[in-house]
Assembly symmetry: C2
Homo-oligomer: 245 residues x 2
Amino acid sequence: MRGMPPDEMRHEVLAAVFQVRRTPHGADRLDVLLWRRGRAPHRDAWALPGGTLGLAEGLGASIRRQLAQKVDVREVAHLEQLMTSGAPDRHPGRRVVATSYLGLVPADADPRLPDDTRWHDADTLPSMAFDHAEIVDAARTRLRAKLSYTNVGFALATPEFTMSQLCGYYRAALGHDVSATNLQRVLLRRGQIEPTGGALPSGSRGGRPAAVFRFRDRRLEVTDEFAVLRPPATDRTPTNAQPTT
Amino acid sequence: MRGMPPDEMRHEVLAAVFQVRRTPHGADRLDVLLWRRGRAPHRDAWALPGGTLGLAEGLGASIRRQLAQKVDVREVAHLEQLMTSGAPDRHPGRRVVATSYLGLVPADADPRLPDDTRWHDADTLPSMAFDHAEIVDAARTRLRAKLSYTNVGFALATPEFTMSQLCGYYRAALGHDVSATNLQRVLLRRGQIEPTGGALPSGSRGGRPAAVFRFRDRRLEVTDEFAVLRPPATDRTPTNAQPTT
DNA sequence: GATCGTTTTCGCCTGGGAGTCTAAAACTAC
DNA sequence: GTAGTTTTAGACTCCCAGGCGAAAACGATC
């Protein structure tokens, strides 16, 4: 049996890598990293970075290796598995199962990109190859949700930041306005951020100097305090408990 | 060359299927469906149901097909993709990438099981094959979280139920006490459940007859109302809005 | 048939976190 | 010094989850 029906299965890894970047108009925008395909299928369509999983290679290791061809991997501050797409017709001609990741790059990183690779507005995607548009949508949904109940913000923000900067990152990623007052109170209460003590000199148009903050931990932590149907009070640690690790 | 470097890659699908079942002592317990391996590797260890992904078969279709060999698939009320495990050494000898699913079976279902297959207490797992224990743990964590902010409860409960029955399902799945009063108010407020109007005759020991409820929708819906860092009020629908679909 | 124990239901109260608003603080530019 | 701009801090409200206790509705027993 040769030819038509796919006689082998390939496994590939993909990543939807986001970064909050400043548009020419000075606004913050959530961008996703895409490269333009030079070959069929889907020639000239835009695709997610990634490639075939090696035989002796873990999934996480593979996506890091593949991403290294597009951006400096050290710039990727957070990477988590998103989903696996396995529709038989998602790739014309061959059977390809894809495990995709969500990646986040801090706003101050400016990795050198290959000629075929660009940042694109995550809200208005260009013509996308395969099912990569669905993957980007799923990744955005995941990111929005996780900004609510985890500290992933650290992976979008610079190491140190003012509240208005952080506000801009959250606004761009969430897609709606965020109150700086509220954001500060919520993140402080949760112990996610802390003031460095420093302050940034005011801009050219004056204004009070902004206090500088940083994230306490730069690894993912979930805020379980907000689960409903919690265990009864006696089973719970006091509400003021700080995350121990 | 046989042995060392795997010369091919296989993709398998697995499922951690849960059901709340009544123990001989009359308590509700969360059980997971396992079968006992009859062959090496990991002979006599317990494994999750599943098998090799077919060449022209979608992931969801495949896990349904594989599950059909263990339980009546129509009994599975909810099935969602969980994660993909791809550590190179997770399967001795061969390279096997596994995509696992979380499955839920209502409490009243009593599917016939093959001889090698059993329900096991999800809290005290037996000796498990491969990395299946990790998968079960991840599935439980996912289940716990989703009970908080979605209506997955419908997939654990019988079509109609009293609040104390539902309370038992939630207690078993969450692993801690749940107040019936609170559970009723929360689920009613969210519009997840509704009274059927009927009532169950009281038990042999008397007591007020319990009102009967049912879930409004038997498909997954997320309760987005509880995301923090919500959009400003003007962008939001009024808080009393009922889910329209 | 009155009482007791049991189970469920309903209402009220409480606490706490999120969202909102306004005033004060701190700075630049003119 | 005054006006304008940006950030910070406090106070206030709203609303939901959690907790408590009383009332309702039943079976069993005497």
